[in-house]
């Protein structure tokens, strides 16, 4: 089971290396959205700084959502998902590996460029560890929850809007906790509570969503 997990991640890595645009799109989107805020709000550093936790988290959330629409689409269209459903390995393990690969190559890249963009918004350097921590704990939850929606809508021709409607409400706790942690850190308040809540959400998502993703994929393949 561990072997198939690793070979699926290797397969996804190969596919992404051969079509790097898929990797770059969410990152460029993230960077552009963050760069647009100062243009829209104005260049006052104090205002941007106080807004930056929310802005960064909103942009990250939308970037993850954007990248999730196509998560299972190509596997659905070329028949790979049928083979997954009939595999002797549990579909939930394959789904978890797929989302893990997606997060490793797009979520993690997002976390890596976030500090640069945060500094652009005037977030002080002392807040960067909390920014990184909250994104590291929060983005896997965003990917996993989004994958549930992506699995359910993969069979639909235009699933994008429906995916957003299904999934955005579920993102609310992560958004509140993630930007809350950063806001608290900015004001010099303790953040352990926020981060621990995020960590528990991450654990919950890793343990429960693979089953929901697998069920969604079965329904989509069975249509």
């Amino acid at each position: 089971m561990g072997r198939v997990f690793v070979s699926l991640i290797v397969r996804e890595a190969r596919l992404l290396c051969r079509r790097p645009a898929e990797l770059a799109n969410p990152l460029v989107f993230f960077a552009i959205v963050i760069a647009l805020f100062p243009l829209a709000i104005g260049p006052q550093t104090s205002l941007l700084q106080s807004l930056s936790p929310g802005l960064i988290w909103m942009a990250a959330l939308l970037a993850v959502l954007l990248s999730l629409d196509d998560l299972f689409r190509s596997d659905f269209e070329d028949g790979s998902l049928e083979q997954w459903v009939l595999s002797c390995h549990p579909l939930s393990v394959l789904a978890l590996a797929k989302v893990a690969a997606h997060w490793l190559f797009s979520g993690l890249a997002l976390v890596v460029i976030a500090p640069v963009l945060a500094l652009m918004l005037g977030l002080p350097g002392r807040c960067l560890p909390v920014l990184l921590g909250s994104l590291l704990l929060g983005t896997p939850v965003l990917s996993l929850l989004g994958a549930v929606g992506a699995a359910l809508t993969v069979g639909l021709k235009r699933g994008g809007v429906l995916l957003a409607l299904l999934i955005l409400p579920l993102y609310i706790p992560v958004l509140i906790l993630g930007s809350g942690a950063l806001q608290a850190n900015l004001q010099g308040l303790p953040v352990a509570g926020h981060l621990l809540w995020l960590a528990s959400l991450a654990v919950l998502a890793v343990t429960l969503t693979p089953f929901a993703i697998a069920a969604g994929l079965r329904i989509s393949v069975g249509e």
Binding site: R3, V4, S7, L8, R11, R14, L15, R18, R19, S74, E77, D78, G79, S80, E82, Q83, W84, V85, L86, S87, C88, H89, L94, V221, G222, E223
Partner: protein
């Protein structure tokens, strides 16, 4: 319709069949058995009360016009799609069958070798040598490491069919396996399917093409016109 040979279970019908026959099935534990399966799509009944049973050495060809439910039947048999009613039993569950659908799960960005190695890893892992042998068997020697999108449709189909030349479960369910293949590849595949049946395997397939080589225990299941 019903084949009376005692150790065999070949029988199929599209009407409720005499249930007394089912006593024979227990003896040889067929690879695949469907009882009173009904398929409904978008409110139309494609077929109802379909019974069939496929045992070792048998080939079942599902025929019928476009839209008569051939692919739906195969997907129901493979366990990919739930039947509206009825029951399908596969010996060994999903692990006991090999499914190659119309879309065969071949990634255009991966090479034939990578594609095949991954498909094998999903079911029964195969080493590099056997993957290369299987690709050579379907006439893709020299194409092992070029991306599949540079291959023709027929060559891509051959990549999918190379799985039949690897260690595979005994029951094969193939949806239109001959699509896009050239004459020579069709003959090779027909012979391979017949050989698989001779070695106590079983094949269920759909195709519009008339098979020239069929195993001894071959049956034809015509599905009706959609109403």
């Amino acid at each position: 319709m019903y084949n009376p040979a005692p150790s065999e279970c070949a029988h199929l019908s599209c009407r409720p069949s005499s249930r007394a026959n089912s006593g024979n099935h227990v003896v040889s534990s067929p690879f695949l058995e469907a009882v009173a399966v009904t398929c409904e799509r978008d409110g139309r009944v494609l077929f109802e009360d379909l019974n069939l049973c496929v045992g070792a050495g048998e080939m079942l060809q599902v025929t019928g016009p476009n839209g008569s439910g051939k692919t739906s039947l195969l997907r129901i048999l493979a366990g990919l799609m739930p039947a509206a009613s009825g029951e399908v039993r596969v010996r060994g569950g999903a692990e006991g069958l090999l499914w190659i659908g119309h879309a065969a799960g071949i990634k255009a960005l991966l090479t034939p070798e990578e594609n095949l190695a991954w498909l094998c890893a999903l079911h029964r892992p195969a080493d590099r040598d056997s993957v290369w042998r299987a690709l050579a068997a379907v006439g893709l020697r020299g194409y092992e490491d070029v991306p599949c999108h540079t291959l023709s449709a027929g060559q891509q189909r051959r990549v999918a069919l190379a799985r039949l030349y690897l260690d595979a479960p005994a029951l094969w369910i193939l949806d239109e396996p001959f699509t896009a293949l050239d004459r020579q590849a069709v003959d090779g595949l027909e012979a391979h399917l017949a050989e698989h049946c001779r070695q106590s395997g079983a094949v269920v397939l759909t195709t519009h093409h008339a098979l020239t080589v069929t195993p001894e225990r071959y049956q034809d299941l015509p599905l009706g016109t959609p109403t």
